[in-house]
Symmetry: C2
Subunit: 334 residues, 2 copies
């Protein structure tokens, strides 16, 4: 039996092995991904993002528990973990998760560390999500720290994006990050038992009013390939991101949040936005693959000597990086 078949049959060991292969971008991983791709497109992808200290991990934990207990859904959690291996919240969060969710064969948690290269993480995450989708998980939750552009880019590829805030994190943190509000389908004010929750909610509300929803939808579905805009027009029935209060440590507000997520899925299906988001996600992935493929072709087409000589001229400020790029692109073997 091939590993793809094993995964389609629910083999957790084969799944874990493929996830590692896919994260390492190995040849086996790529072949299995290709075999599995026809089986994707069923899972509901939920992105959860927010600043450190908002209690995202514990919220994701509660969501997973709720979906398990009340809807018997199979849940995969992909935690994008920018923390050091030495210390900090992520390890602790994982321990809490292990206690509540471990031993349940219908839950699979995967932590992914930030990679060295810009964009590498986004591609690896897309692939890991595809594997879970093909493996029959109904819901794939991707959790990122929403302070960086790359994390925001990852979160926005979900069908439903939750942006998590919390009261009393101080001015500097409270500042909603660029792009964060416009990618939010649902705003969650977690730690809502803390003082200042009204102010946080009020601030979010006034920002929602400022952020013109029409533009928001266009931006969200911006086709990166820029070959042609999607044919569908933004729907007349607009989705106004609701604000949900939760206290994830106590499970307060989780059923209401799950309800809001359900309403969002219904909206996506009805409006046609579901397939629009699918398309955007696949286009972003396709573009990344093409970019990497072109760069690999390019690397093979120039000699080390060509490259070294050109770099030397740049170092000596004889030619600019711009001129160096065109020299190398024009001078390569056909």
């Amino acid at each position: 039996m091939t590993s793809s078949q094993a995964i389609l049959n629910g083999d957790r060991l084969a799944l874990a092995r493929l996830l590692t292969q896919v994260e390492n971008n190995s040849q086996e991983g790529r072949s299995s991904l290709m075999e599995l791709f026809p089986h994707t497109g069923k899972a509901h992808l939920i992105g959860v993002t927010g600043a450190p200290g908002t209690g995202k991990s514990s919220l994701v934990n509660q969501l997973a528990l709720h979906y398990r207990k009340n809807e018997n859904k199979r849940i995969a959690i992909v935690a994008i973990d920018p923390s050091s291996p030495f210390t900090g919240g992520a390890v602790l969060g994982d321990r809490v998760r292990m206690r509540d969710l471990s031993g349940d064969p219908n839950v699979f948690i995967r932590s992914m560390a930030s990679r060295g290269s810009l964009g590498g993480l986004a591609q690896a995450t897309a692939n890991v999500v595809q594997v879970f989708d093909a493996a029959g998980f109904d819901i794939v939750i991707v959790e990122t720290v929403g302070a960086g552009q790359s994390e925001v880019d990852i979160a926005r590829l979900a069908h439903t994006t939750l942006v998590v805030e919390a009261p009393g994190l101080g001015d500097d943190i409270q500042a909603i990050k660029a792009g964060i509000l416009e990618i939010a389908d649902i705003l969650v004010v977690n730690k809502a038992d803390r003082p200042g929750v009204e102010n946080t909610e009020k601030a979010l509300k006034s920002m929602l009013e400022l952020a013109h929803p029409t533009e928001r939808v266009f931006k969200h579905h911006g086709v990166s390939m820029k070959v042609e805009a999607p044919k569908q027009k933004p729907t007349t029935a607009m989705w106004i991101p609701p604000i949900q209060r939760t206290v994830s440590t106590e499970g307060t507000g989780i059923p209401e949040l799950v309800n809001a997520i359900g309403r969002h899925v219904a909206h996506l299906r009805l409006s046609g936005d579901w397939s629009l988001r699918e398309r955007t996600r696949l286009e972003v992935e396709l573009e990344a693959l093409i970019r990497d493929g072109l760069m690999n072709q390019f690397r093979d087409s120039i000699t080390t000597q060509q490259y070294e000589e050109t770099m030397e001229s740049v170092m000596q400020r004889k030619i600019s990086p711009w001129e160096a790029a065109s020299t190398l692109m024009n001078g390569r073997k056909p």
Copy 2:
């Protein structure tokens, strides 16, 4: 007089205009950059990164004031601003800056918002830094929020990278982000008048001991092009990142921090690491330009119909994005 000449002559209006052109990646911007490039390579680039709430902006402010008053250096500050236009710390920080530094013709502050695309910001920042370098600024400080991979990638391209921490930010925030420690040349514990400063410093020290410095140097200088490793070997005289305490609101510890920065520059010059970092930075920039150039060539080489048909097959799960990428790359016009 061309705009490049005006900038070399110290014309602030021409400088501001070119910065906008360069940020917008316009044709004029690119030509001027090419003309200015031979005049670059003199500025000392300082990256300052750290989690929200560590007081980075005020620290950068104090550094700039110190360099102005005591060393008569010309200072440019590039603030990478992930905050929303609606609210938050950045606007406030800018106001504080305006009060202390405005009216000084030898200080230029430029805020840059996060762009939509992954990598776009890194390229724009590199170009803005080049303009300041050519315009004769002695020190260019690039300030980023160090919670995201792209921000880390931007900060690591400096000659000297400061990672800012602060006591009492809570477990989740305290967690040093991946890659953060290994890019730090100097660790700053800001807000050092707060309780818990000893613990923060102790945690940083033990993490420094865990992070093997030999590996650190190799990683920092990882050549992205991967055509050939740099010829220089890591120097035997290792740089151990010092930990500096500051209270930036009061200016405490700033002279000592400036001193540590000076020692780092001396180390870079002596060890040959200065040109090694220059090379890495220019290589990263060259690679980004080539990637974009190849993608543009590619876009011109396929028809809208080819693209749409292929995307349709992907949407219907007939072919995987991987297969679609090779189909499009092989099927294009020569």
